[in-house]
Symmetry: C2
Subunit: 146 residues, 2 copies
DNA sequence: ATACCTGCAAAGGCTTTGCGGTTCG
DNA sequence: CGAACCGCAAAGCCTTTGCAGGTAT
């Protein structure tokens, strides 16, 4: 597993190679995404970036996460709730999701599922497992006896 | 596995029991959802209902799918793209999703994953597996040699 | 008769886009 | 210098909501 520094370096290399400019905002968005544990929304990334670059615009954050997605460096994850969340973890992993507050945590499972390459005419490319439950905080709050 | 007729009957029973009125629009929405194979969007359900009830409103469809969700008779599924899709299949099943056009198909797997009741402090309630790939139509269109 | 429901239209929230000025290479 | 990018504001979806009239029980 690469470190955040490694990934930032690779990102900068790829930007150079592809003719994308390396702007402070762009780096900041990716860095926040890499260091965050909780799959932030665009709004949350925006708030973080603002701490360092107070004049950043929300539109820039939207544009940057889309760029990252197209480069394959981040994934959009969308469950209930209204806003999309982003995940810069490119390792094989799955998600543990709180049905109460929407928190998402990465998990790594030993259990591998064997998916046929072809399924009902589909050519398969991969899979993801979402496990639903109540996170520690919400267990305490809403289901004291559960 | 119950038939669509069975489910419609149970739905009507439950509505009576819970004091919900049985309106033609409401029944039509659920019926379309039950008979559809492809997890329609609200817009798509709306277009179908309009064939029978031309004056139906989009807002009514939104309200009805929300009611169905609260009754546990339908689930909202959300992947990429902007609009939510609905699924009235309440059996244990997973989803096969086309990464190109967004089509979703139900699949039933023998392979069961064993999920511990407690995982990283979460009390788990269930899981779902999403398998990504290219559907037959999109295989032909976009990846002729794949 | 009365609650519940519908249709309409307006409002709301998230996301995208057009534009002029700015910055990176 | 030129292409790419940013910030701002406006526009664009999708979805929700308020209200007045209609409908099921």
């Amino acid at each position: 597993m690469k470190t955040a520094e490694d990934k930032l370096g690779l990102f900068i290399e790829r930007c150079k190679k592809e003719g994308l400019k390396i702007t402070p905002q762009r780096v900041a968005v990716y860095e926040i995404l890499l260091r965050s544990e909780n799959h932030p929304t665009v709004e949350e990334i925006y708030e973080e970036v603002k701490k360092k670059y107070p004049f950043v615009s929300l539109a820039t954050v939207y544009r940057t996460v889309e760029t990252l997605e197209q480069m394959g460096l981040a994934k959009k994850v969308c469950y209930w709730g209204s806003s999309a969340r982003y995940d810069a973890n490119t390792d094989d992993h799955h998600h543990l999701i709180c049905v109460s507050c929407g928190a998402i945590r990465d998990i790594y499972m030993e259990d591998q599922i064997s998916i046929p390459e072809e399924l009902e005419g589909f050519r398969t490319e991969g899979y993801s497992v979402n496990i639903y439950g109540l996170c520690p905080e919400c267990r305490g709050k809403t289901q004291p006896t559960a």
